[in-house]
Symmetry: C2
Subunit: 385 residues, 2 copies
Amino acid sequence: MSVTAPQGFDAAGVAAGLKSTGKPDVAVVVNRGPRKVGAAVFTSNRAKANPILWSQQVIADRTVEAIVLNSGGANCFTGAFGFQTTHLTAEKAAELLDVSAGDVLVCSTGLIGTGDEVFRGKVLDGVERGIASLSADGGQLAAEAIMTTDTVSKTAVLTRDGWTIGAMAKGAGMLAPGLATMLVVITTDADLEASEADAALRRATNVSFDRLDSDGCMSTNDQVTLLVSGASGIHPDLDDFTAALSELCGELAQKLQTDAEGASHDITIVVQHAATEEEAVEVGRSVARNNLFKAAIFGNDPNWGRVLAAIGTTAAQFDPYDVDVTMNGVRVCSAGGPDRPREDVDLTPRATRLEIDLKAGEATATILTNDLTHDYVHENSAYAS
Amino acid sequence: MSVTAPQGFDAAGVAAGLKSTGKPDVAVVVNRGPRKVGAAVFTSNRAKANPILWSQQVIADRTVEAIVLNSGGANCFTGAFGFQTTHLTAEKAAELLDVSAGDVLVCSTGLIGTGDEVFRGKVLDGVERGIASLSADGGQLAAEAIMTTDTVSKTAVLTRDGWTIGAMAKGAGMLAPGLATMLVVITTDADLEASEADAALRRATNVSFDRLDSDGCMSTNDQVTLLVSGASGIHPDLDDFTAALSELCGELAQKLQTDAEGASHDITIVVQHAATEEEAVEVGRSVARNNLFKAAIFGNDPNWGRVLAAIGTTAAQFDPYDVDVTMNGVRVCSAGGPDRPREDVDLTPRATRLEIDLKAGEATATILTNDLTHDYVHENSAYAS
């Protein structure tokens, strides 16, 4: 049931004509309380879309009543007019819900540059019709309304001792022309203080979505939101909640990775025995962003030399001549030289696992990425915004 | 005439059977003096090939008598045996030239992992025959002997008041499976101290080869070498020499860029009005390494949104909502929003110029790159080391 699985939330997903397909394209999620706590993490790209700029202002006081999300247009680089569209969106929702506009988050996804009067009219219409159809079963339709090039809706639900976390997500890094912004809405009926929600979300995001690195490109519109209703009446231990939230976000991140448009391999990079967790992440990312490595995987080539050449660009602690590299369970490189023959490795399955043992400590980190394919080049070179 | 244009240098290029084509694959360049000064800049990748490890030791005392370069095999990740091959190469050349092995640089380029007994035998044979055919006209053959996937040899000559600089170069970033290592040998009959040669080379490399960023991947075998004979008897002002060397290196870098395998556009990124030169370089690089931008150029799409999304990932000083973007002379974005219509931009020519005005200062930098094409994916995904 996605975001409506926990108690205290209503949602809706309606078609406002933003998508030419006529499919749902405006989602609304409302927190009925008793708590109205919100936390959010935004793209770190300094070029931020208008809805991001608005939502950053809304989240400042950690009070959120509702969130409106549209697909079919990113409203990015659309200037003051676009910002006003976002503001009007929040105001319309606030008016219909009888709350403050400053407590309504707004997210948009779609083509960069889309955001004119026609766009504005449809979004506002979608807000009206969405709010008119809010229900405690609306989570699935909401999850569909935020899809762009996703082939399936992505939802997750996790239940612990009397409290529940629900979520919907879309996108997987900018794998298609400005379309694959990552948007996530997480709801919970656990009872948390604003500072607890913020801390838990930052940690969970850090070990999940931040480690999903499909093509190294950071979208202008990414936003991960957590809404807390407290309706279960249960205040969990913060560590327990953070662990559960991290698990749920990790599950969503994998769903985004496996639906990455244009990809033919889902690559899980596990960096082992790093000196620190940060260094493990740095090393994993250097491989995840290396075009030569990713192209090799596309070609089913267990090219460990390229893995070494990639990690050799980092400042992480390790001896370049004493690293082990294992692909899909076969150690092809040990101590910086050849080990098992490459013919022993079967890279034809979509799921790909790369393990890099740095032998420098006890820290580990996992980075998710995909291969570099002809489809990727094709998707991203055809004329589009 | 390449490296033999300046006085005091002999060179040769011979075929030792390392290349299956039978083309020249071992080059030798000898400094006849009176000066025997050498300076070199090596790949910053911590995974360094055996010849790099050797050459770093040789260059320590700034005295260089000769340099041997082979194509047809990178001798990288080939362990102690591979290192010994490099050492034997230097010893063989030293014996025949009656100099010290510790004064002979060695470079290799080709497939990573190549470096067995067969390879060793051919390289040593090539050294013998190369030294036997040294001549003051050997520069062109030497330039051909270092080619791998290059379609043309790359040389340059620059003459000032009585002194000359000559050079040969190959490669353009790792644009083909481990083949496109960048090797450059520069010779001059200007008279320079070792410290002057080192300073001039570092500056010239910094503003030329370091700003050639074809696919963001740093090779394991890159080396840029400067040999000083002093045979002209003229000791130029260091600033004048550095400016001339920088100009020559810039010319070579452009030649490497335009011969980048698999590319269909040569993209010159000019970052203007940055707060500092370092920030201009950082911004240029963020675009040069952005797959979505490079794929858009492949599709002849003047996608300025992706340029903004790319530079937005840097910490350079600028207002993301007040940047101008000009493509092939047409300003498509001003102050962070649309300007001239995209239809006004013709991106069909191979030569592509992108100007980014940060409006934050007076510094400028130019980064050279290429587009992301199907050929790149194909070249780098077919089974190879």
